[in-house]
């Protein structure tokens, strides 16, 4: 059985963007209008408010925003962004 986790990416143009991971792969991106959320939420807490549900082999699963995964992905992508800049230097 696959393990599903959700990381929080960003808020842009009043849309919150999250990533649904299936094991180590990205399964899909999830987008939520932040205006649909209750007023007065702290921006830092926004990720906590998204509970995507989906059908996993017949059972409905509600996912919890994963703070640890979010932090891990953030670090991972920072390194990848640096790598991309270096890749440009190497291949140009």
């Amino acid at each position: 059985m696959s393990e599903y986790r959700v990381s929080f990416n960003d808020i842009e143009d009043d849309m919150a963007h999250l990533t649904l991971h299936e094991d180590d792969e990205i399964r899909e991106f999830l987008h939520y209008p932040i205006n649909d959320l209750p007023m007065g939420l702290e921006r830092a807490d926004l990720g906590n408010q998204f509970r995507p549900t989906f059908d996993d082999d017949g059972s409905i699963v509600e996912l919890q925003y994963d703070e640890e995964l979010t932090e891990q992905k953030r670090e991972e992508y920072k390194r990848a962004a640096d790598r991309h800049r270096n890749r440009l230097d190497d291949t140009e």
Partner: protein, 574 residues
């Protein structure tokens, strides 16, 4: 190697993929080189599979199909978001060209505000997914860094500016002095141009926004003869956002065709009215992925006009604006709309749309007649008119009224009988009245008469019409063929005939009156039509694999064989 039509078939094909609120275009040059402009969403893979199905393709050692060039307009999630599925589904990118990264800043999500810069998250994910491809080169480009695709094809780079400094811009529309600083991603994205018999301009999300005047800079460069913006096909900037595609810009490009890639959700409202109005004013044909689906334009063909992959025929910008408003309001697909009346348009629809849209008709009757004229079956009419429920109801009511007027049904027979016996009972009751009462009932009131008890009762002989149910044809009495199939019953011949007659009526008529006239010719056809106009796929659902004709034919064959055997046996005196 996959067998089929070779990629280098001498045709310069450019596809705009239907990928929702994102961008992806795919080009196959005359010599078979492939270019993918941006890629988001898993639908890119499905679209590429469809395009390349049946083509002769050379695969690399691990069986992957090579995308020779991946041309990035800018590093935004809806443009470079999904390179992983491409690799996982058998595609590999060889060479990448992307906008000069000195032209934009990055930010760390969660730690800084976006301010329209490139997200480190997107850039990192883009690189992680790119790493899985067999990349030979990644090249940053800016104005003038043209890229040779093959011996006949050069991909020209018109933007971003070839400097890492802010550049001065004078806006044509206002004459004001502004600039384009190297910060935001959209306005510093790459703009590409391809030339065949026809030329095409790939705009990405280029625009004027937040003190970043990307489109104005392009106009200025064109006016200084530094670049040539003129193009037959314009891949409209930023999904049709009103931050781009100004009148001044269209004056320079002068496109024949504009292609917009967006969905029609309300979040962004793309394509914006102002852009559609500008395109309408410039008489530019418009194709829109949300309505027309994936589009193919041959840059060396006789015409730039693509064939839609949906039933939506119109390419008029005002029509598309009308469809945008109506379809959002009713949550229906634009390709299902035959025509609309001004009353169908939501209040927020701009006035110019009602004045300019050729698909607008005056009355719902015209929509019904258009649907009937264009359809060959009741199902096609149902599918079209379902999108405008008032017109659907109107046709159904017209056919029902016609049936009530012209078809004798079991209910009519029952009514006739009840009316006859009711009149008969009243007459008998009158006969049983005492003689003096009947006498008084026949006297004028002034001589002491009373109200005559049969005054408001018809004579039984006046009750016209059949009173015996056997006079109603079977096809009218029984449920329609579709309903019988739903119940698993065998469909009798005359009901199948009524079903065919209903489709035939739609096929031959051009108005609802014409349909009604035609339905009158076949018993049961009205009833069949009324069921089919309400029930999706009524005429095709539950049909057995073998139809009655086949069954009869096979039975006849068996009988013929049996007769021949008997004859042969007889001739042999067995």
């Amino acid at each position: 190697m996959t067998a089929g039509e070779p990629l280098d078939n001498g045709v310069f094909e450019t596809y705009t993929l239907k990928v929702g609120q994102a961008d992806a275009r795919f080009t196959i040059t005359e010599n078979g080189q492939t270019i993918l402009f941006d890629a988001d969403e898993d639908e890119v893979v499905d679209s590429l599979n469809t395009i390349l199905e049946g083509r002769e393709i050379e695969r690399n050692a691990d069986g992957a199909i090579s995308i020779d060039t991946f041309a990035v307009t800018h590093l935004d999630q809806d443009h470079v978001g999904r390179l992983g599925p491409l690799r996982q589904n058998g595609y590999t990118i060889q060479n990448v060209i992307e906008p000069d990264n000195d032209r934009f800043d990055t930010y760390v999500p969660g730690e800084e505000e976006s301010k329209e810069r490139v997200s480190e998250f997107v850039m990192g994910m883009y690189d992680s997914e790119l790493a899985a491809h067999d990349i030979d080169t990644v090249t940053q480009v800016s104005k003038g860094d043209n890229k040779s695709i093959d011996s006949d094809t050069e991909l020209r780079v018109l933007a971003p500016p070839d400097t890492d400094e802010s550049v001065d811009v004078t806006r044509v529309s206002t004459g004001s002095d502004v600039n384009l600083p190297p910060i935001q991603a959209n306005e510093n994205g790459a703009v590409y141009k391809l030339d065949g018999e026809h030329s095409a301009l790939f705009m990405g999300d280029m625009q004027d926004k937040s003190d970043h005047y990307g489109e104005s800079w392009l106009i200025q460069q064109h006016d200084k003869d530094e670049i040539d913006l003129s193009a037959d096909v314009l891949f409209v900037a930023h999904h049709g956002s009103n931050n781009a595609t100004s009148e001044a810009f269209l004056d320079r490009v002068e496109p024949e065709l504009a292609i917009i890639s967006s969905d029609f959700g309300e979040q962004h409202g793309h394509p914006h009215d102002e852009v559609l109005k500008n395109l309408s004013d410039h008489d530019v044909a418009v194709s829109w992925t949300a309505g027309h689906g994936t589009l193919r334009t041959d840059l060396d063909g006789e015409t730039t006009r693509p064939e839609p992959t949906t039933d939506l025929g119109t390419t008029d910008a005002a029509d598309l604006a009308a469809l945008k408003y109506y379809c959002r309001d009713h949550d229906v697909s634009p390709d299902r709309i035959a025509a609309l009346t001004p009353d169908h348009l939501p209040e927020e629809t701009p006035e110019w749309v009602a004045d300019a849209a050729p698909m607008l008709v005056e009355t719902p009757e015209e929509i019904v007649d258009t649907a009937i004229t264009n359809a060959e079956t009741v199902e096609e009419v149902r599918n079209t008119l379902d999108a405008t429920p008032d017109t659907h109801d109107q046709l159904r009511e017209a056919v029902q009224d016609d049936r009530d007027e012209h078809v004798t049904t079991k209910a009519d027979v029952k009514r006739n009988r009840e009316a006859y016996f009711s009149a008969k009972r009243a007459e008998d009751a009158y006969g049983r009245l005492p003689l003096h009462t009947r006498f008084r009932a026949n006297l004028p009131k002034r001589y002491g008469g009373i109200d005559h008890p049969l005054e408001d009762v018809p004579d039984p002989e006046e009750i016209d019409g059949p009173r015996d149910v056997s006079e109603v044809p079977k096809a009218v009495r029984k449920p329609s063929a579709a309903e019988q199939r739903e119940r698993g019953e065998v469909v009798v011949w005359d009901l199948a005939t009524a079903e065919e007659a209903a489709d035939q009526a739609v096929d031959t008529a051009e108005t609802s009156e014409g349909v009604c006239r035609s339905l009158r010719e076949t018993p049961g056809a009205h009833k069949d039509f009324l069921h089919a106009i309400e029930t999706p796929n009524a005429h095709e659902a539950n049909k057995p694999d073998t139809d009655l004709d086949d069954l009869l034919e096979r039975t006849n064959d068996r009988e013929r064989t049996s007769e021949q055997t008997t004859d042969r046996d007889a001739s042999l005196s067995l």
